[in-house]
């Protein structure tokens, strides 16, 4: 079996979740079957990958092509990338085409029809999630819907996302499989941590409506009422960064918070492991890989109920994203009670380490065998 994976980005270019997913999942899959990963020639590449990489020329420069930062250049690049597949006259022997999110759905449909091979699409996030429910773009939703309708099988990264695919996009439930993502091997190899109080509470993720940073700051101000000495670390960047800085300034005492800006993997691990608790109050998060990263770092974790990965986790504290009273209670509880940190952190660590890419690869192979 050979599969043509229509990707968008790969490490070392960009920090986006899609590139890391492609690298990890198909790294494991390539141990089982032949994999060709197609990507546009935009960013730098490593010399070797565990799978075949086939680059597609766009004939146009892209300043910032990361999936997470949608610029005009980006839309133009997507358009050219998908059109490039219209001119392809071979799929190099692939018997399945596998696409990831709307940015490559049109290419997938094209290849399915022209080469008469089945199409599998994975939905990592939908326009509904990315817009946080505010003003989703209809033309993107149309592409998403068409891709899922044309697909022979749809893979959702959580049951939470599966439900959106059924309810919002009207896709038949019986052709959707749920496969949870894995956690990267850096995290799987981390040793256990200690639980001496650090008094630090961590937000780490893109600073966008979808991830709920405003609810983090609102919770923080309620925690300060209970425990005045707690420090809040807001790590990451995003289009709401300046607004959140303003919000923090008016809601929190000076010196009680810090914005770190962009954080790389090593720094992220240090941050996780030096925080009493990690909080992700996402408005709509299809999966939430940072949840597994924080947990496998041994750090107690609080998430919103609208965070996909939470559906199969026991050792996390869950609240509605808007319930900042309850989020504040959980933050204050983990900061105040060492026993909670130690038990939640260490049990969470073993639970998160069950999410391996090897398991995700085996389940993906099962889906390939269904088409």
């Amino acid at each position: 079996m050979k599969v043509a994976v229509i990707g968008w980005e790969l490490p070392p270019a960009f920090s986006g979740g899609l590139g890391i997913h492609t690298f990890n999942l198909f790294g494991e899959m390539s141990k089982l079957i032949d994999i060709d990963v197609y990507i546009p020639r935009i960013g730098p590449l490593y010399d070797h990958y565990p799978f075949n990489v086939r680059t597609v020329e766009l004939g146009v420069g892209v300043r910032n092509g990361a999936y997470e930062s949608l610029t005009y250049d980006f839309y133009e690049a997507i358009n050219r990338y998908n059109r490039a597949f219209e001119e392809t006259n071979t799929v190099n022997g692939a018997s399945i085409v596998h696409c990831h999110d709307w940015i490559t759905f049109q290419a997938g449909i094209e290849l399915k029809e022209r080469f008469n091979i089945p199409l599998v699409v994975t939905v990592h996030s939908t326009e509904t999630d990315r817009s946080g429910g505010f003003y989703p773009q209809k033309w993107i939703m149309d592409i998403e819907r068409e891709g899922m309708k044309e697909a022979d099988r749809v893979i959702a990264v959580s049951h939470y996302t599966k439900k959106i695919i059924i309810d919002t996009y009207g896709i038949r439930p019986d052709k959707i499989s749920v496969i949870h993502n894995g956690v990267g091997k850096h995290f799987l190899e981390l040793p256990s941590r200690d639980y001496y109080p650090t008094g630090k509470v961590l937000y780490f993720g893109r600073i966008t409506t979808q991830k709920g940073p405003a609810f983090f700051i609102e919770s923080a101000s309620k925690v300060i009422d209970l425990l005045p000495k707690v420090k809040f670390v807001i790590a990451g960047t995003g289009e709401l960064l300046n607004r959140m800085k303003e919000a923090a300034k008016s809601a929190l005492p000076r010196g009680s918070y810090e914005f770190t800006g962009f954080i790389d993997l090593n720094k992220a691990i240090t941050l996780y492991r030096n925080s009493d608790v990690f909080v992700l109050p996402a408005v709509s998060e299809p999966f939430g890989i940072t949840v597994l990263e924080a947990m496998s770092s041994g750090t107690p974790t609080i998430i919103s109920r609208t965070t996909g990965v939470g559906e199969s986790l026991k050792n996390v504290l869950k609240a509605e994203f808007w319930d900042t009273d309850l989020i504040a209670e959980y933050i204050a509880g983990t900061v105040r009670y060492g026993g909670l940190r130690a038990t939640l952190g260490s049990n969470g660590m073993s639970e998160a380490k069950q999410f391996t890419w090897k398991r995700a690869a085996e389940e993906t192979l099962k889906v390939y065998r269904m088409v």
Partner: protein
């Protein structure tokens, strides 16, 4: 592991001709969700609505019909009823207290003592333990007019040291778990001496769990369990007496009526009778059978979870922190003692995956972490008073 338990063979010459049924009746005063911001502002700790609802439900489904069945079919049993159960039953389901009174007057039963609060006092403070046992004994005397001489500690928590304290309080008989390590050398199917000189009854966990855990399990190879089959197992197992100890709530609550559990109990007396098996109270069994030998249990054991030790209550950091804070609070009042009820710590267990299902079944908070938070916040408030 099989040794001394159920024998799956025919024609045993000295098969058991007696059983002792013992039931634990207990309900904790469950805490409500108590948030950190309430500390210093609210003393409303207990979840009265939920406690009342549970008491009424179990009274209707279990206590009242089961006790009626026992009286009707002359089923003899030894029973302990915790103080926290009795208080709440009087408040929320007084008809269940009447049912217990009728059963205790019927001559079919023996009332067994424990700590009033179903607490862990025996493992950390002798004086506190003695006071709670005395409170329970006085309550039993007042409520049911009985003077118990048999003792069963919280969830069968037992050791030589605890047996020593219990003996010094004048009790003549004690119950303990027949753990694998104890029954390696001693079949649970006899009466023993504890190191302090009381009679010691070891629970036959295989035969007990056949009813309390496996009765309605469709995947069990012996499903469905009939009274005929069960009586036959006992008759075919060597020894003097089968010690069948379980939660009273097994009948109608853990095993709901639809499983056929009541038909099973109703059929038992007949199946026992035709095989010459007698149902005895602890006192009667103590009189009838010679004590086999002295059994020493230096380490603390219990009947809970797979490890049969204190780990269901003190197994993780949260539980140990909560327990230490509880001891430190030391208020010597009723609220503090209600917080000592072992169930609060049990809800915080994150034990092994096979045990966690059982913990979750009982946990009103559904998560050990939420149970811990409310408990700790309540303690912080209590400490300030």
């Amino acid at each position: 592991m099989e040794k001394g338990c159920r024998g799956d063979f025919e024609g045993v010459q000295n098969g058991m001709k007696a059983i002792v049924l013992f039931f634990e009746v207990h309900q904790p005063r469950r805490l409500r969700v108590y948030r950190m911001k309430e500390i210093g502002h609210s003393r409303n700790y207990f979840w009265d609505e939920r406690n009342s609802e549970i008491l009424q439900r179990i009274s209707r489904r279990c206590y009242v019909p089961t006790l009626a069945t026992f009286i009707e079919n002359e089923i003899k049993a030894s029973v302990s009823v915790s103080g926290t159960f009795m208080e709440q039953a009087q408040e929320y389901a007084p008809e269940s207290i009447d049912s217990f009174k009728s059963y205790f007057r019927s001559g079919l039963s023996e009332v067994v003592a424990e700590t009033y609060y179903h607490s862990l006092a025996s493992v950390w403070n002798e004086q506190e333990f003695i006071e709670q046992v005395e409170q329970q004994v006085n309550t039993l005397k007042k409520e049911f007019g009985v003077e118990p001489k048999s003792f069963r500690n919280t969830e069968l928590i037992y050791s030589d040291d605890i047996a020593g304290i219990v003996r010094s309080m004048g009790f003549k008989r004690m119950l303990a778990e027949g753990t694998d390590s104890i029954i390696k050398g001693n079949s649970p199917n006899h009466v023993y001496n504890s190191t302090s000189g009381t009679a010691l009854f070891l629970r036959n966990y295989r035969l007990s769990d056949d009813i309390s855990f496996r009765f309605s399990n469709w995947n069990w190879s012996e499903y469905p369990l009939t009274a005929d089959k069960y009586a036959k197992w006992i008759n075919d197992t060597p020894g003097d007496v089968a010690n069948l100890f379980m939660d009273f709530e097994t009948f109608g609550e853990h095993q709901v009526a639809e499983t056929g559990i009541f038909e099973f109990i109703r059929a038992l007396p007949h199946e026992f009778k035709r095989r010459g098996i007698d149902m005895l109270t602890l006192e009667e069994a103590d009189k009838r059978f010679e004590r086999r030998s002295t059994v020493s249990v230096p380490e603390i054991t219990s009947w809970a979870d797979t490890r049969r030790d204190l780990s269901p209550w003190l197994g993780n950091d949260m539980q140990r922190e909560a327990f230490n804070e509880l001891i430190k609070t030391d208020k010597k009042n009723q609220i503090w003692r209600n917080l000592q009820t072992s169930d609060h710590l049990y809800y915080m267990s994150t034990g092994t995956s096979q045990d966690i299902t059982v913990h979750e079944y009982f946990n009103p908070f559904k998560s050990p972490y939420y149970a811990f938070l409310s408990f700790m916040n309540v303690l912080q408030d209590l400490m300030r008073q």
